[in-house]
Subunit: 359 residues, 4 copies
């Protein structure tokens, strides 16, 4: 259930509604928006009485929500969420580029890559200290030593750090060392971990599972938010299909689908999403064109020597090389058909759009 | 097997090789390129002797091809193919927009839509006279009467016409009336129809099957080319997956994958590929950004009245509306990071790229 | 729309309803059942007036059908259909085993395999004269010469023949030479071919497409039946998924799903469905246990020399070898728990089941 | 790497090899078989020197393993593993039936269901105390109170208990209260949880993830075994595909595929695997016929009132109802073709089969 407050509702009116909800045994989530505040009501045991709530001063409307998700939805919060990760905004009008190695291997390696990312225009550093690996005999990451390296890189290069947590223990450490907690695709429905992330202080980057529907992804984000952490960033990283020309099938249509339903920012990971280095640049362009809030790129200074060898690993220089690839096609088009040329540039952010009603 | 002729090989040298190949019981396909001519050799019964061929004057190299496809590959023809459809180039440096109704219903309907497409910047008209429908009780198209309507529309609006053929009979008529023969996704492996299309005079637009691999799509194109019709345009229209937020999952990564392997142009159909009207504009942008040679858009002047109701049907006006959607995001980005902004514009065509060796 | 006649309706009453329906511009399909006759009404233009029809003598009920399929459904015909293929019943209480080579190569090869099948307990011979092949350069079958070989095999071994048609031309010949026309997975939505099969005199074996839903498979059968050929046998042969331990994923749950909705028999093809010779025997057992009406097995006398090499090719002897594999497990179980042992034997045919209402 | 000891190798010889391996910094896993002992060697850092090991007394062979899994493979242990769950054997020649409610709701509910399972011939009781639910607002299970109820049910009905653990905390409690720890499909690649299960004392039932390949499933089992817990039972529960007639597509071909590669027992869960109550009986029959070691069935005494309503919930009585379904089809077949009838009975266990070489 959602309580939409009037535009001019006073703080003490909001507070009164929250207290009433809590007295009834539910959890209240005030969500301040640009124009008004909404209050999400969550809890297991049935629903509160909407009629009583409608009579509280400052309450404009009480909405029964049919979808299982509430806090992630644009009904709860019409404006795009902008998540602050160590000073860098994710979501809103800008595009964020997150880069880094699959696994943190050493301080030297991490510094070399960070320098390339900084020069290449990246804003966030992503490197793995805890690696969820398919085989028990593969390198599983440096653990807390890797987190210490990441913290040093952040200080030296002013690049806020994103890194993965794989259980309660690593999550507590990541919450302490990093700026953003990554929950990987294999843990997207590790609900115990999602709840723990919901009690952490840092933002959470939640990757879509390999065969997760849009609704499941949103409900996993809802797990985090229902515990009180509203700083959630979604990430599309490809799904499993029969197609064999890429390792996964990057499902870019999920980006506008999420933008319609949810206020959360969404990044795209073309490195894992395609598994092919030569697809990273074109799919990054497509991700931005379709409306993603940024991309997450696997970057290594010596890809051929990486402990975990991905075909996807991109050299730092390659990020800036993208620019030199842009060329005659678009210019030729502009001259012939300026209207169409404009049409294929990235879409305006949806933050100005009117909130839509969910089905 | 592929015979690559020297840059300066004379026509009579090429002719001599062709005659030798045919004497040996094979079929020879001379493929003139910008710099040199390649000759593809096809046929069921084993392979010709490469040593004899290497000794012919003007022959530079004889390549044994491990992949089953030959004529579609960049080994056979390093330069991008540009296919002429009634005067409109598909492939190369430009972007082509194909629009029209799922089914031709009447002359009035077709004229109204054509006017919108012409004004919206479209270059080709696609409408169905023969409709492959899942149910035998659904409207199956106007048949030859529909083809006559399409021919009138072409004359009045100077829009070359693409339309689907579903069997040998309809193919003969489409070859006569239209400028480009569409082979639909359900017929991508109707090999008898592919061979007939290979004997037609007009260009062929071949749509990817709902669960076709990249290799299968290329081999279906090879069927057409092996009969002598080299004017083939590929089209990605979404594949079947578990994902339920779109009707199909549009697999944009197939575009750069095809560009690496094949010289053929590739269009993207976001209307069938997503099944949602609100996804057509963002996925069209992404298609162009990833390097597609154009888009194929379902357009109807009164979508709510269309005999075959798609959620995907777009009003003609919507095509030009795309332009007004382009906005502040890109401009803001340009000011902050010109290098990155350049990086997210569409890629230069691959025609300048060196031909790659196939695995 | 379906008209259900009373149990005691006389032939002239049925005839009167049929004539009325045809006068109204529709097509009437009388479907005699064990107890009563139903009349399916098909046609493009809207629906007939049910009230008039309800007043005809002998009419019990007029049912508006919401699903797109009619003639395939148990509403139209509650009893299991038993299709006669050259004297062999497919459907009903028996299990049919269809065997043979992927491609007919020679009379000697076909005779050697036929002998093995006859000795192994097989009842029908399936061999390809027209082969739909992914590559244009693969062996495409012997054509009419292959059909002549099949006809000789039938005479010598008293094994009725099933063989694939790939276009109108081959279908006319198959209809003439064989006992059952196979429509392959790649042509499941080749609607022009389905209609032609609906006008043929022989039974049709329709294979499920590689990514066809249950509804699509039934509607393709409906195409055949709506043209007047009610002798349709369905066949599950595996669908495309991400799983890589088999070539396709054999979807056995489709068997009971079809048995609930449709009266048509359903075979299972574990050879193409798994692509692995060592999976053919266990998946055949599972197919029979789940309620399939039979299996279709790829058999070759010299698998290692087959022109079209499948891992799936089974030697004729292997069919009878199944029997020696049956062993201690089931017997041990019988002694411990007779009730459970009974439970895992194949299900009774659904022909005694009450017809269900479709949703 | 695998060290295969001679048939007559003495305990002190085995011990000597183990000590050598550990001195070299690796982990040694002695795996006693019916005829001989194998010693699996695991560890991150490269491989031990095989030549030294081959010279130890009692060593027959040293095998370098190319697949990432070792301990799960038949190379390590040719005989089928039989896992003891509270006195009930899983694997080997018998068939095990596991039944119970999705979620433990109360002692009364659990007792009523247990009575039905006991009478219906079930041997193990599976009920959820910790429920991984897609939505944070769904009932998440009774937790430790549920475990106490399960322990009471076991005592009263002599039904050993299987129940799911979702994190380290619940795993410690499940290890204490239950006889077998279930790891659910969503946690199949929660590697931290797998390692913890590998340190538990009880057997582990590991369900295949919704889009897991066979190799990934085996590697997740390897995670558990590499920590020293060799009592692992696998479970197929359906994978995600485009097909919509069942909730998931039950992939029965994985059963013989696992039997070839691995010595671990494999159960099949037709309740989650199809999501349709009417598919549970036929797919259970098929699972046994294909060679599964048992089935896992969702059972509720009042399915219509279950807190978590599945279409899959089966009444306890239905389990014994299977027997009455068995009928005329098989008998008719037996009379006509005894060889074939034998062929379709469940396969003999693979324990007599010679061990195969892995690719």
């Amino acid at each position: 259930m959602l309580i939409v407050m009037e535009a001019g509702a006073r703080p003490e009116q909001i507070e009164a509604v929250v207290r009433h909800v809590e007295r009834m045994g539910f959890k209240a989530h005030p969500i301040p928006g640009a124009h008004r505040t909404a209050i999400g009501i969550t809890g297991q045991a049935g629903a509160a009485d909407p009629e009583v709530l409608e009579n509280y001063p400052g309450v404009k409307e009480v909405i029964r929500v049919s979808h299982a998700y509430k806090l992630v939805s644009r009904e709860a919060k019409p404006d795009d969420s902008v998540i602050n990760v160590g000073g860098v905004d994710v979501g809103g009008k800008g595009i964020v580029v997150v880069g880094g190695p699959c696994a943190v291997e050493s301080l030297d390696q991490s510094r070399a890559i960070a320098e390339g990312i900084k020069n290449g225009g990246g804003q966030l550093y992503r490197g793995g200290a805890y690696k969820p690996r398919t085989s028990p005999y593969s390198f599983q990451g440096l653990g807390e030593k890797g987190l210490e390296i990441l913290a040093k890189v952040r200080e030296e290069f002013d690049l806020p750090v994103v890194t993965e947590a794989i259980d309660h223990e690593s999550l507590a450490l990541v919450d302490q060392y990093a700026d953003c907690i990554q929950i990987g695709a294999r843990n997207m429905q590790n609900f115990s971990l999602l709840k723990a992330a919901g009690r952490a202080r840092k933002a959470v980057l939640l990757k879509r599972g390999m065969s997760a529907t849009l609704e499941e992804l949103l409900l996993s984000a809802e797990y985090i938010m229902s515990e009180g952490n509203y700083n959630v960033i979604l990430c599309e990283r490809g799904v499993r299909t029969f197609a064999d020309h890429t390792r996964n099938t990057l499902d870019l249509s999920v980006v506008p689908a999420i933008k319609r339903i949810s206020h959360l920012p969404i990044l795209v990971d073309p490195s894992h999403g395609t598994g092919k280095r030569n697809k990273v640049a074109p799919m990054s362009r497509a991700a931005i064109a379709v409306g993603a809030d940024g991309v997450l790129i696997e970057v290594h200074h010596k890809p051929e020597e990486a402990l975990k060898l991905y075909e996807t690993v991109t050299k730092p220089g390659a990020m800036s090389v993208w620019s030199s690839e842009a060329g005659g096609r678009r210019e030729a088009l502009l001259q012939r058909n300026p209207k169409l040329a404009a049409a294929i540039t990235p879409a305006v952010t949806s933050s100005n759009a009117a909130p839509m009603k969910l089905p």
